[in-house]
Amino acid sequence: MSREGSDIVAAVDGLRERIGWPGRYESHPLVTAAAILVAVTVISPLLWLGLRAAAVGPSEALSILTAPSTVQVFTNSLALVASVTALSVALGVPLAVLTVLTDLPFRRFWTVVLALPLVVPSYLGAFAFVSAFGPHGTLAELLSPLGVTIPTIYGFQGATLVLALFVYPYVFLTTRASLLSFDSKQLEAAQTLNHDFRSAFRRIVLPQIAPGVTAGALLVAFYALSDFGTPAIMHFDTFTRVIYVQYNNFGRGTASLLSIQLLAVTALVLFLESRFGSGTGSGYGGGVTKTDSTVTSLGWAKAPALLFCTAVVALTLVVPVAIFGMWLLRSGPGYAGGGFAFEWSFAINSVYVAAIAAAATGLAALPIAYVSARSNSPLARLLDRSTYVGYAVPGIVLGLALVFLGANYLPWLYQTLPLLVFAYVVRFLPQAVGATHSSVLQVDSELLGAARTLGETPQGAFRRVTLPLIAPGLVAGAALVFLTTMKELPATLILHPTGFTTLVTYIWRVQEAGYYGRAALPALVLVAVSALSMILLLRQEGDNA
């Protein structure tokens, strides 16, 4: 091996060492116990699924699961998950590289606007796309005098496109986080050693950011698996659409069976990821130990890069905001609907419950992130992966499971905010775990050792050393949970306290009644409020950079 080559390998090894490759520092037993407690608690509501499914006879169950339509739905779901994930990676990784490693003009601006699509609920995105690009949509009307017809937006392609456009930021953010915590001196070294950017990127950067990309891709994959609205609006049959139809027609047994099948798919994806993936997860977190980034000059590629960013932003932000704005200005169907009047308290309710959910999820994520970052034992990995189960369950399934448990066993909690918040914790825990995990990885255990040597108690060392170091990851994870809670619909609809209207339950109400125009203002408010928190989230990242 050439001297340069071995240098690079040594550098990579050094980096792996530095980010705390698992196995060296195990967690305190109490922390492990807390992690197990959290994992068991968030999985427990799903036992209800088993109860419901058991009520379906075995032969009927078999016939439902092997029916041609079920097989079709199964194939559709897997195809959608694969295509959405692939497209999200294809969008998210290059955009992350552009905004972190290159001299793209206005990098700060692009970072913010490219992350923003995450705040647009994908079902609203889908509505906007159908309005804009569907048959008789705005674009079709504009183009038809010119004799131009556009390909249909409905079906597999449309569902893939819309989902990927509104969830790729998961990959974008986690990849950015990995790039930011990546020691760019390595890249600098490689480039001085006559490797061009592409080869240096492939050999140095890619292995380092792979865990981040994988973490983002997992979030995308499970989002695609559990999202109901987009496939429904795009006329594409997936598990969630069929489960939703079943639940809406008293086919609770069948719906539970299909949900269990969905969970089996989830388990399979997690298993495959752990076998062939990078082994260690990473998530969106602050790049705590990052040094000054080395900026690679884009050169002639500057214009195409800008064009790429502009196109993505046009599709993900300009189209929905323009369509909502148009709905807002255009007079809606004629009716005098005082019952539909928008109130600002809906926005306040949304922010309030999302903030509580963010804090609660952050706390619940802490022990699991700690254990999984400190150890690569099967238990630690199981704990980490178990958090994805609730994330992959459709919200309507989780909602009704909690109705059953709440009304019958915890009546004092039923239809209260704590139970709703619990549902959010179950749904969104992996987002917070991922983010916290990556910053725990960056805590140098020798620093903790030093604190202990200097007479700190374990608690004191945690408070004075660990907590400040992992705070950015915790905050980032909580912010991500805040954003996703703001736009969560099905569980909110089923579990909200009576009289507690949020932006999305209001949007659902008017949308369900066919008054799309009334959805415009709350949709814009939702996007604006979420955008503010996204900017805070990225500022957090910036402060650490």
Binding site: A67, P68, S69, T70, Q72, P135, H136, A232, I233, H235, D237, R241, V242, V245, Q246, Y247, N248, N249, F250, G251, R252, T254, S331, G332, P333, G334, Y335, A336, G337, G338, G339, F340, E343, S345, I396, L400, V403, F404, A407, N408, P411, Y414, Q415, L493, I494, T498, G499, T501, T505, R509, V510, E512, A513, G514, Y515
Partner: protein, 386 residues
């Protein structure tokens, strides 16, 4: 959240005096003006009159005089009631609830909204611990499911007697407004005579080839297929669904969008509940859109929104009195003129040039059986519609 206005308190007071003044006159006489004059009786200003309940717009003109029980004939609503409010009309129904709260300062209603079937499922999962006092839903199937799970009490006969028998089959719930299946068609593309009289003939009608739209995931459509299954049998229904697919039917997410697509000429005709077309026409008076009805078959099904009092409520009396209020002339006029639904009491006619409810020829089936959707879904899945 909604009962914010103290200025409405005066209206409540008027109604009390109005009721006293009317106590001599029997229901149905000139208690409240039924015409378009809009003025209240008695002291005039600041009163809730029939016109407060009535909608406005081009479809609501020249209303005939109405008859039936009036709000003033009923005991006051007083106390707190949790109403599970299912379905898309939620927002409009909510408005009626807030009008009641304005009329009765001692009456607080806590509406909880959700999808009809989702709320029915919720009530069934909640069992005897359900916080709901009343389930008010836009679909008889959901009401039937709640009744079959023994979660609905039997209503007193005086609550349900003004409504035709088929809209309160077991007295565990009572219809409050009707929703007729219909065929919205584009008048530029088709004329009424192009629409067959029986729904079973649709797939073989040349004018409708590749020109129809439907919303198979929509509850009302599934209720329609369930009715077809009950009337024509499984294999004929399967055959019909398959033939419709073969004839190139277009799928929409809901029936409002289906009706809109008909008005746009994207399709020539569709399957939809009748009020969606009225809503489109109310917004776009020049829309080339009209309604056809089939006769005596599933295509002519009249489903209802209805109300049930939930088993185990500690507000039985208030809940029943609330349901009585939904069947007053004022509330029925509200449903007719604001949601474009079919009124349930004979003294209030529908709007928009619709045939009256007795001119329609709905199939004779027990609406409650519409809750048995499972075999329908199986059928729809087998054929590939779902």
């Amino acid at each position: 959240m909604d009962d914010d206005s103290s200025s409405y308190l005066r209206r409540r007071r008027f109604l009390a005096t109005g009721a006293a003044a009317l106590s001599g006159a029997l229901a149905g006489c000139n208690g409240l003006p039924g015409g378009s004059s809009g003025g209240g009786g008695g002291d005039g200003s600041g009163t809730i009159t029939l016109s407060s309940f009535r909608g406005s717009g081009p479809l609501v003109e020249g209303r005939a005089s109405l008859s039936g029980t009036r709000i003033a004939d009923l005991p006051d609503l007083s106390g707190e009631l949790t109403v599970y409010l299912g379905g898309g009309e939620g927002g409009l129904y909510r408005e009626l609830l807030s009008m009641f709260s304005q009329l009765y300062p001692d009456f607080t209603v806590r509406p909880r909204e959700g999808g009809t079937a989702q709320l029915a499922n919720t009530i069934i999962e909640e069992g005897e611990n359900s916080p709901a006092d009343v389930f008010w839903a836009v679909d008889a199937g959901s009401l039937g499911a709640v009744a079959e799970a023994d979660m609905a009490t039997t209503l007193s006969s005086d609550v349900v007697e003004s409504v035709p028998q088929e809209f309160h089959p077991t007295d565990q719930w009572v219809g409050t407004a009707g929703r007729a299946r219909s065929v919205p068609y584009n008048t530029n593309e088709l004329s009424a005579s192009d629409i067959p009289d029986t729904v079973m003939d649709f797939p073989d009608t040349p004018a409708l080839q590749g020109a129809m739209g439907w919303a198979p995931t929509y509850g009302a459509f599934q209720a329609f297929v369930t009715a077809m299954r009950l009337i024509e049998g499984e294999s004929a229904t399967r055959q019909w669904l398959q033939s419709m697919l073969d004839s190139g039917v277009t799928e929409y997410p809901d029936e409002f969008l289906t009706s809109n697509a008909v008005a746009d000429g994207e399709i020539s005709a569709g399957f939809a509940n009748h009020y969606y077309a009225l809503r489109v026409r109310s917004a776009r008076t020049d829309a080339p859109l009209d309604l056809a009805f089939t006769s005596g078959d599933a295509g002519a099904l009249i489903n209802v929104a209805g109300a049930a009092v939930i088993q185990g409520t500690d507000q039985q009396e208030l809940a029943e009195n609330f349901v009585r209020h939904l069947l007053t002339v004022e509330a029925q006029e509200f449903f007719a003129t604001r949601t474009f639904a079919y009124p349930m009491i004979p003294g209030v006619p529908p709007v928009g040039g619709l045939p009256s409810i007795d001119e329609l020829n709905p199939p004779s089936i027990d609406l409650q059986e519409l809750s048995n959707v499972e075999p329908t879904l199986q059928l729809m899945r087998d054929v590939g519609v779902l």
